[in-house]
Amino acid sequence: MKQHSSPRTPFAAGFFDITPILIGVFPFGLIAGIAAIEAGLDSVQAYAASPIVFAGAAQLAMMDLLGRDATPIVIVATVLVINSRMAMYSAALAPSFRGLGPIRKAYGAFVITDQSFAVSIVRFDRVAESLPDRFAYFMGASMGLWGTWQISTILGVVVGTGVPDEWSLDFAIPLVFMALLFPAIKDRGSTIAAITAAIAAVAFVSLPLNLGLLAASGIGITAGAIWGRT
């Protein structure tokens, strides 16, 4: 992945490598901003969600559940379940970040995303760099994504306040989830998990407290883990 010609700082290289991915993040952030307004949050809260929660699918699911008045514990549990995959990223990045100071660890961890993790782990595999350079590369990629997420959700909040209901823009929310779903189906296990969870979720629609989502996800994950072995 070492870039030729003009020498780049590691931060710039990270930023540069994540740029193609940002094009797909932008519409997603736009919808997350719109979803916050659709859910009935005031604009200050809608703006604050991205810097505070800073998650993609989980933030969108949170808005969706808030709009349906789901129970607080279910809302928080759903966010944490969706984001628990990031424990994997944390584990995979940990050896590369060994020796960082606690402050850098703290803010570095805060900006881990699917995308910045993916480009960083590829880079760390291929290029032998010093610890500060590795961290700078990761921060370059992460800041590119962070900035894009903030700007696109702000635009979404602005747009969301002005769009008439007849445009059915709330339908963009399941569409975004769908666009994220298919890349997540990678093998037998994830296929079984997705199909089982989808059927269970439809069957559980009338479970109280919007528990259907968590229950169906649990069943799907269990099915995938049991029958997904290759």
Binding site: L41, M86, K105
Partner: protein, 109 residues
Amino acid sequence: MTTHSSTLIWVLMGVAGLGTWLIRLSFIALLGRVATIPDLVMRILGLIPAAVLAAIVAPSLTHAAGTFDLGTERFMAGAIAAVVAWRTKNVLATIGSGMGVLWLLQALS
């Protein structure tokens, strides 16, 4: 629209944000004290996105009108968008095709 109080929404965002940060920090902070994650845990973590996303999407299409109904405009638009999402894996194309079909069906009805 939510009827939760403004204060509760702030608290929920704070707890969700803090919890998410702790998940992200987990192994980076613990390294040296925890050896490795067991295979089964890794496998389960890897299955979460597919399961959760499918569980969110499915009812929003099958129950678009509140009850189970596969004849709604949203179900049809969603089915077409699913094919686009599967073939292209592109966020913009998925939103574009789904919204486009929905608007077309709404205009025709």
